[in-house]
């Protein structure tokens, strides 16, 4: 089916009784994109992915995968996708080889083809030598790779990845990110949900931020950062500080907030040049010595915090809330 979009979600909604987990969301993912889906815990990320992949039936709305409606053209839509859920849902009692072969059988792939595809993927993921070992003896990173390989068995056009690097060691994270980039270069559309804002910023062509079941923003990482110009900041560090430095910096004109980060201060403003000038005046009048001055644009984390309204809380506050 000819379509420029790999995924189209229209008015997608999921209700659990009175709770609206996903609230009439609309978005499109273009073919060949890496699309990030960011949100705090409980925002509706996994519910959305479960509706897009046919595990959960939407209360309202539709989802199309490569032009096929997941509810009405279920088989055709599911043939287009591979899914890597948030936990590695491999069969621990089976070998790596048998896991892939079983996946091939689920997709009704001919025997010779599923064998050659399994071999190709196990080699690609560096697991061919251990193909006959039961997966239960594998490390978490290896299980994750097997899980991704299983999702690629059917040569899907769209790959859904739910927290693919969560809880993995650094080496496994790097291997998986590299694999995702290579798969995307080969034309695979990737729908990536993650908590890792830096990962989303580095890897995604576009990002949707979901909060309380609603899409708060969708754009490229750089454009999202520009949405919150007020989160520009000036970062300064002094060789030695005065006891009232923090208070003095907070009182500078055009400074909306000052955050201490280690030995640095981050002065949030929508007018960095004015803040630079007043900081310089403060330094000179107090005979201080600056060792670092940077103007810093908003990070994706700043955008995320601004749009979702999440605030750092202490353990006591969390307990009180509970």
């Amino acid at each position: 089916m000819q379509t420029e979009h790999a995924i189209v979600a229209s008015n997608l909604t999921k209700k659990y009784g009175d709770l609206v987990a996903v609230d009439h969301i609309d978005f499109e993912v273009k073919k060949g994109e890496i699309f990030g889906f960011l949100g705090p815990n409980g925002a509706g990320k996994t519910t959305t992915i479960r509706m897009l992949t046919g595990v959960s039936i939407p209360t309202e709305g539709t989802a199309k995968i490569m032009g096929y409606d997941i509810q009405r053209q279920t088989v055709e839509a599911k043939e287009q996708m591979g899914i890597v859920p948030d936990i590695s849902n491999v069969y621990s009692e089976l070998s790596a080889w048998d896991n892939l072969i079983f996946t091939g059988r689920l997709y009704d792939m001919p025997k010779a083809f599923r064998r050659s595809r399994a071999e190709e993927l196990l080699k690609m993921f560096g697991l061919y030598e251990r193909r006959n070992e039961k997966v239960q003896g594998f490390s978490r990173g290896m299980k994750r790779r097997i899980c991704i390989a299983m999702a690629l068995m059917n040569q899907s056009s769209v790959l859904f990845l739910d927290e693919p690097t969560s809880g993995l060691d650094v080496q496994s994270v790097l291997i998986i990110r590299d694999l995702i980039r290579k798969l995307n270069e080969d034309g695979l559309t990737i729908f990536l949900t993650t908590h890792n804002i830096e990962e989303a910023s580095q890897m995604c062509d576009r990002i949707a931020i979901i909060n309380h079941g609603k899409i708060a923003a969708i754009d490229t990482p750089e454009k999202l950062k520009r949405m919150v110009e007020s989160l520009q900041s000036v970062e300064v560090a002094f060789e030695a500080m005065l006891p009232d430095t923090l208070k003095a910096l907070e009182e500078l004109p055009s400074v909306s907030e000052v955050v201490r980060q280690g030995d640095k201060f981050r002065l949030f403003t929508n007018d960095p040049s004015s803040v630079l000038a007043s900081t310089w005046n403060y330094v000179q009048s107090n005979d201080l010595k600056l060792i670092t001055v940077n103007t810093v644009g908003p990070s994706l984390e700043d955008v995320f915090v601004k749009l979702t309204g999440i605030k750092p809380t202490t353990a006591d506050e969390e307990t009180e809330k509970a």
């Binding site: 659990y16 046919g54 959960s56 088989v75 936990i87 996946t103 059988r105 689920l106 009704d108 001919p110």
Partner: protein, 253 residues
């Protein structure tokens, strides 16, 4: 790449069989399958039959029926909650195959398990206690329909959204154990009071025991035609209800 010239039905059958063989390899030797599917019916049988003056050969149909009942109905409640816990059940839901094919594969795994285990008492009866198959057709119908009905019953109960076999086995046993006492397992239906005979007729297990007795040369109170009809109706009802409940689960997901 899909199988060339594959019809929709052919594809569904192949995928269902793939699920069956995977379940056989993965779950038949799991402790809950062995406990609820093998040890449970044999222990119950021994506890009710030891010390009785009844000849062993006449108890063989009881053991056949009990193994069919417990073994077939145990596989779904072991497999599906375990797969829900490690999210492998989602793998089926996201694969290009209908829920019917998925549940058919699971049901077939229960059927094969039940038939496989119940062959043991038949062989033991024939080799050691002189049991003879008088009506082979009745035996085949008994094993095929009973294992189908009970396996489908297990799949239906497995729609209870638990993540451990115990969460499904407990409510299932609330139904299975009382059925033992109203199904003429140890007291033939013919000697029960009339109201109990009516209750007994509603139990699928009654008809499994009756057919097994008839197949081994005994008598059936309701007659083999009624036995076969009731088992077939239960098989259809459990299959349809199982599918319906699993769809309802998907809506709640």
């Amino acid at each position: 790449m899909k199988n060339k010239h594959s019809s929709h039905v052919g594809r569904e059958v192949r995928v269902a069989w793939a699920i069956t063989t995977k379940d056989m390899r993965t779950y038949y030797t799991r402790p809950p399958s062995i406990m609820f599917g093998i040890l449970f019916p044999f222990s119950l049988f021994l506890s009710f039959s030891i010390g009785r003056s009844t000849p062993v050969a006449t108890l063989i149909p009881v053991l056949i029926a009990q193994t069919l009942f417990f073994s077939s109905s145990s596989i779904g409640p072991v497999v599906i909650p375990s797969e829900r816990a490690n999210q492998t059940f989602d793998r089926f839901l996201t694969s290009p195959v209908s829920l019917l094919a998925i549940l058919a594969g699971k049901t077939l795994a229960g059927i094969i398990y039940g038939v496989g285990i119940s062959v043991i008492p038949i062989l033991v009866g024939m080799v050691f206690f002189g049991s003879q198959i008088a009506h082979i057709g009745a035996l085949i119908a008994c094993m095929a329909l009973s294992s189908l009905a009970f396996s489908a019953m297990g799949i239906m109960f497995a729609s209870i959204p638990g993540q451990t076999p115990g969460q499904v086995m407990m409510p299932l046993n609330f139904v299975r154990i009382p059925l033992l006492f109203i199904s003429g397992v140890y007291t033939p239906v013919g000697v029960l009071p009339t109201w109990m005979q009516f209750v007994s007729m509603l139990s699928p297990l009654t008809h499994t025991i009756e057919l097994a007795r008839y197949a081994l040369g005994g008598e059936t109170f309701f007659g083999p035609f009624v036995n076969i009809t009731v088992l077939a109706v239960y098989a259809v009802v459990f299959l349809c209800a199982g599918i319906r409940f699993h769809i309802m689960n998907q809506r709640k997901e």
